[in-house]
Symmetry: C2
Subunit: 396 residues, 2 copies
DNA sequence: CTACTTTTTCCACTCACAGGACAAAGACGG
DNA sequence: CCGTCTTTGTCCTGTGAGTGGAAAAAGTAG
């Protein structure tokens, strides 16, 4: 098919598109219940949307007691590409316009290989998804990168863990290659959008989404909108001091949260423990794999290894301490914990909760859920699809 | 005069009122340059505003080369009352509709005496201002209280330093007494609004406003709007842990920022130092006054007293450390330092700056001014007037 | 006094939208 | 099977907001 290029012509159409995206097929009458428009006006706007091809008829709706109505839905042939570039792997997914994941693949890849190599990989993965019949082309793509982004231009700025990406015109380059509109954002922000769209944060206006992976970041949502800060580096909590005069960090300071707890720090601590003979479990895993990662620590903890549990608990305490500060400051309605270390599960969560509930004031914590993300590795790509759909479903 | 009760009838009128508030008298043509409306539409809306009495004619404008235009301005008889209830004193000011302070008085008062006693004082001060001819009555009042507020209802919730205020219907009670609309907010938020309206933050959309007085709080402005959090306690940074296992705090924890640096903590430390004979300067002041406050420390520091300087420097370091974390998290475009301890001046500022610039990443600090508030004790009352004017100049 | 600007008013025209009337299509009871 | 009721979809007209051009009003500059 020819790719869609139409955009909503006004705010009403944008509203309707978003309702159809979030609510699935709907009759005109049901839409009318949700927007404050006269039936005539609604009919006009729906007709225009049908003309653009963004929306198509979709059979009869269930009867509500009288004349049955015809459903309409977003064009089922629309396809969005969601790309989540992590520090050590790339996730790519295809969704329809309702942001349902149709296919999702993951490939290990070091982001430090630079934008050219990474994009080659991303394009190959996109081609693979296309070849498997899930899409003939893409109507838009959202890209998440593990570092701060100058959002309007879609360009990474001074990303600490992505040497070689600074100033690279990601948005422009990928838009060219994919032949469709592209939006770029920090991967943590996308995770927050993902959990907001389809995960635990569906009903919350103000929340924090802490992602603990190779590094540590935090998505900030204010009034339902992602807050990115003055230079796009908001939520960069990995380098908040967690331990006075603590471990040296790559950033040049000491005691950064990231230096004490993150995928990388955890692997290092586990290796140390294994080598010092503190944990038979970890040592045997080291023997087998030749290396240790956060996954090994999670497995060891699941097997009841005391050292692994202690590592997780201590890391959780550190993280919880920082989050407690953020909770006092930001007073969110929800805190979501996600990222690669979600596998550490409830040991981690319990440690974080303990710190936050102990250190922050009751008014801020009284009704504050602290939960694990619901979507796991899909949060990023769903958030990416959501990002581009928000863009495309806004008036031009 | 009869008090104004009119409100703008639509968003255009609201926009015009705010332009006149912030820009002073303006001709229709000048207003036309700032709003995106046709001349005819503009004329209609201005006429309606003139009819309501909110706006009046104000002579001829300066020539711009052609026909001279007639200025219009907000009714100069409109009066707002700004009230800033601090922990240890009350500020009350009268402004006109352009938020220019016409009179400002301050009275020491302990907020712990409870809402009834405090309001008696506030009403007496308002009466005094009225009696001095500055106002015949008030068209609206903004109230700042030193604790979290459930904003829509204007009711303090669980305020730690204001026993007896929890759940007291401040908005309703004062509205009754003053006979005009009232809005209530946290005093720190009002300080932020004040600096935004008439101080250092005029051009910044996202900034933090740290107020160090008896306690420590932080106003958060996102996209030009004050962010209050889910339960109204956002910005409550006084109980963020600044020193692991540090001093015990009234909140039950240890090492809270407020326990280590605030007006109260500074007075306590100064007293200790004086009694231990570490500072002749402080000891002599203790002799004279029978007590020591932050003001004495400021004076001693200004006189070059090493102990006082050290106290300030250490407090600034602690505060700077916490602010550094907030800067990493929030990535503001500006940090304003204000409150009672502003008298500590550049010694304090230098200590804070050092910590922030050292601990936060360059991307966040690169272009980040950290400055003292410009308005001093007037910030709160101006912010209060701004709060109620924002409310009254919005469509009903 | 003349030519040119700027401001203000006036007016006709467009357009979005509401809301009623009516037709279409089904549910349901008899 | 038929008539009545309910819901849905379409048509149409009235209304009010708003635009933009023309012209009048009131200046400035030379």
């Amino acid at each position: 098919m020819r790719r869609m290029t139409a955009r909503p012509g006004n705010a009403h159409q944008a509203r309707l598109l978003k309702l159809l995206r979030d609510g699935g097929p709907n009759s005109r009458a049901q839409l009318g219940d949700q927007v404050d428009l006269s039936r005539s006006k609604l009919a006009v706007e729906v007709d225009r949307l049908l003309e653009t091809g963004l929306v198509v008829a979709d059979g009869l709706a269930a009867s509500r007691g009288g004349r049955r109505s015809h459903n309409i839905r977003l064009n089922p042939e629309l396809r969005f590409l969601g790309v989540d570039i992590g520090a050590t792997s790339v996730d790519v997914a295809v969704t329809n316009a309702e942001l349902e994941t149709l296919g999702h693949i993951n490939h290990p890849m070091d982001v430090r290989e630079g934008p050219v190599a990474v994009f080659e990989q991303v394009l190959a993965m996109a081609a693979k998804l296309r070849a498997s019949g899930l899409a003939e082309g893409f109507d838009g793509a959202g890209i998440g990168v593990p570092g701060p982004v100058r959002f309007p231009e879609g360009i990474p700025v001074a990303p600490p863990i992505m040497p070689g990406w600074d100033g690279f015109p990601v948005r422009e380059a990928l838009s060219q290659e994919l032949g469709c509109p592209v939006m770029v954002d920090n991967d943590v922000n996308l995770m927050a959008m993902g959990e907001q769209h389809a995960g635990v944060a569906r009903t919350v206006a103000d929340f924090l989404c802490v992602k603990i992976g190779t590094g540590i970041g935090c998505g900030i949502v204010v009034g339902g909108e992602v807050y990115r800060g003055t230079t796009g580096s908001a939520g960069d909590i990995g380098h908040i001091q967690a331990v006075p005069d603590g471990r040296p960090c790559a950033c040049g300071n000491r005691g950064c949260l990231e230096a004490h707890f993150s995928g990388a720090a955890l692997a290092r601590d586990a290796l140390e423990a294994a080598q010092q003979g503190l944990s038979a479990e970890l040592a045997s895993r080291l023997e087998t794999n030749g290396d240790l990662t956060a996954v090994d620590v999670a497995a060891a903890a699941a097997a009841g290894d005391a050292t692994a549990l202690e590592l997780i608990r201590e890391g959780g305490n550190r993280t919880g301490q920082v989050i407690a500060g953020l909770v006092s400051f930001f007073n969110p309605g929800l805190v979501v914990i996600g990222g690669g270390v979600t596998g550490l599960g409830h040991t981690l969560l319990a440690a974080i909760r303990t710190q936050v509930y102990r250190q922050s004031l009751p008014l801020a914590t009284g009704n504050l859920p602290i939960v694990l993300g619901e979507l796991g590795p899909a949060a990023g790509v769903i958030g990416a699809a959501r990002l581009i759909s928000d863009h495309l479903f806004s008036p031009a």
